[in-house]
């Protein structure tokens, strides 16, 4: 456009002015103009006549009013997981991004997409640290009045039921809704909670030691022949199994052969590096690694094996996810 634009002065002139008049300005973030703000403006003109007499003129003053805008934002925490019968907490921050006061209602519901029907409760995060601390028991469903740029922190607690399998999920939807004239301001978030639980499996197979042969689901044997059982215990879940105790009481038509219990990582045979057990539950044996066990056998043939890290003669230990431990013992066919 002819005659329109910015006419730069000479660099020399500009540089000198800059050096003389450096400006120190604070770095600030722009906030929305509050509702009701009056934006006024008035221009000024200076000019001269032929005799260099100076004059000043003012324009009229314009005034426009900033009207209310109602908006809201809510953070979106990542999906999380938890154990059975625990509560998973999701920290949230609601911000009134409008330019007028607003009160927001909070509602959390589970099971819209993954209907496991766990429960969701909203707690006020009094100290705003994103964690439900002791004493933070105030259940809330409103932010109260939030001024423009005002915030409210809370936690959505999702209670996982006890009897749910590893990997089960439920979704929780949080709705934030303004009230009154600001009812149009809404925000939503959705999180998926996943159960992490142990999932122990036991596979029992057998081989005829007297006749030789490998382990299989079944074996043929005649009276007086020796059978060896292998129990493969695996935690296929996403959480450690604790207090793991394996018992094998059913030895009808057989008699336990004393001193034949082996426990360890060797899944091919009962020998080393598996550890031979002493058949009693006295002493101070303990397991310091997950693939480990301490077993005993009663006169009646009840096999009890306390398995996992931390297992002792009396209590079971912990089997982390993915851990497999083998338990062997022999019986004679009656």
């Amino acid at each position: 456009m002819p005659g329109t634009g910015i006419h730069a002065n000479t660099p020399k002139y500009l540089l000198s002015v800059f050096l003389l008049l450096p400006l120190f300005l604070p770095v600030s973030t722009a906030l929305a103009a509050p509702a009701g703000t009056l934006i006024t403006n008035q221009a000024t003109a200076t000019f001269q006549d032929a005799n260099a007499n100076s004059f000043t003129a003012l324009s009229n003053t314009t005034t426009v009013t900033v009207t209310s805008v109602y908006t809201v934002s809510v953070t979106s925490p990542p999906d999380a997981s938890g154990g059975q019968n625990t509560v998973v907490y999701y920290p949230y921050l609601v911000t009134n991004t409008g330019n007028d006061n607003n009160t927001f209602t909070l509602a959390a519901a589970t099971g819209s997409a993954l209907p496991n029907n766990w429960t969701a409760t909203i707690y006020f995060d009094a100290n705003g640290n994103g964690v439900r601390d002791p004493g933070e028991n105030t259940v809330t469903n409103s932010t109260g009045v939030l001024a423009p740029n005002g915030t409210y922190r809370f936690l959505v607690g999702v209670t996982i039921l006890l009897a749910v399998p590893d990997g089960a999920q439920d979704d929780t939807t949080l709705n934030v809704t303004g009230t009154g004239p600001g009812a149009g301001a809404t925000a939503q978030d959705n999180v998926v909670t996943t159960v992490v639980a142990p999932n122990l499996s036991i596979v029992k197979d057998v081989r005829n030691v007297t006749l030789g042969g490998g382990f299989a689901a079944t074996a043929n044997a005649a009276p007086s022949q020796i059978l060896e059982y292998r129990l493969t215990v695996t935690n296929g879940g996403a959480a450690a199994a604790t207090a793991v105790v394996l018992t094998d009481p059913d030895h009808t038509w057989t008699t336990y052969v004393a001193g034949t219990i082996w426990i360890g990582s060797n899944g091919v045979s009962s020998g080393p590096p598996n550890v031979l057990q002493d058949d009693n539950n006295s002493g101070a044996e303990t397991c310091a690694i997950p693939v480990c066990g301490i077993a005993n056998a009663t006169a009646g043939g009840l096999i009890t094996a306390n398995l996992g890290n931390g297992a002792t003669e009396l209590v079971g230990g912990s089997l982390p996810p993915g851990t497999t431990v083998y338990v062997y013992f022999q019986v004679r066919v009656d």
Binding site: F18, P26, N41, A43, A45
Partner: protein, 173 residues
């Protein structure tokens, strides 16, 4: 007779007062330039043309929302009897708004900006300094959002009856 003399004396006094008044009037209203400024604030709205199709146009407004773009137009007219020389028009960017980069217009005008309403420069040399935590100073180029005032230096005298206009746009914070 006495009344007649008194009337004549009063007439002389009245004439003298009238003459003095006329002299004073001449002294207060000599030939001089006078720029009359009219400022308008407009917002772009969507209207419909004769065929009912939407079209954008600028309309004067009283209400705005955060994020709206306001266009301030200053129309000047020399209503004086002689030309106005070395005209400069200054308009502040309202605090609740920020200047929209590249939106300033002004035919036959040298346009400069200010960060404080005192010193005006073209944008390439508008800089500011920030004192950092360690006490040193960091120099930065000013961004259009930081401009506080705009100045139009009219490059041509405005003759009596002459008019013109300048404008800029500002975004409501």
């Amino acid at each position: 007779m006495r009344w007649k003399r008194m009337f004549m004396a009063l007439s002389i006094v009245a004439a003298a007062l009238h003459l003095v008044g006329a002299t004073n009037a001449l002294a207060a209203d000599p030939a001089k330039p006078q720029l009359a400024l009219t400022l308008t604030a407009q917002k772009e709205v969507t209207a419909k043309d004769a065929e009912g199709k939407p079209k954008a146009e600028w309309q004067e407004v009283r209400d705005v929302k955060p994020g709206d773009i306001l266009k301030y137009t200053i129309t000047y007219r020399n209503v004086g009897t002689v030309e106005a020389r070395d005209g400069r028009i200054v308009d502040p960017v309202p605090q609740e708004t920020s200047y929209v980069s590249g939106s300033v217009e002004g035919k036959d005008a040298e346009i400069t900006f200010s960060l404080d309403g005192k010193t005006y420069q073209a944008p390439p040399m508008l800089k500011y300094k920030v004192r950092q935590a360690d006490g040193t100073e960091a120099e930065h180029d000013a961004t259009p959002e930081m401009y506080t005032h705009i100045q139009w230096k009219l490059l041509k005298p405005v003759p009596p009856g002459g008019t013109g206009s300048v404008s800029f746009k500002a975004k409501v914070k």
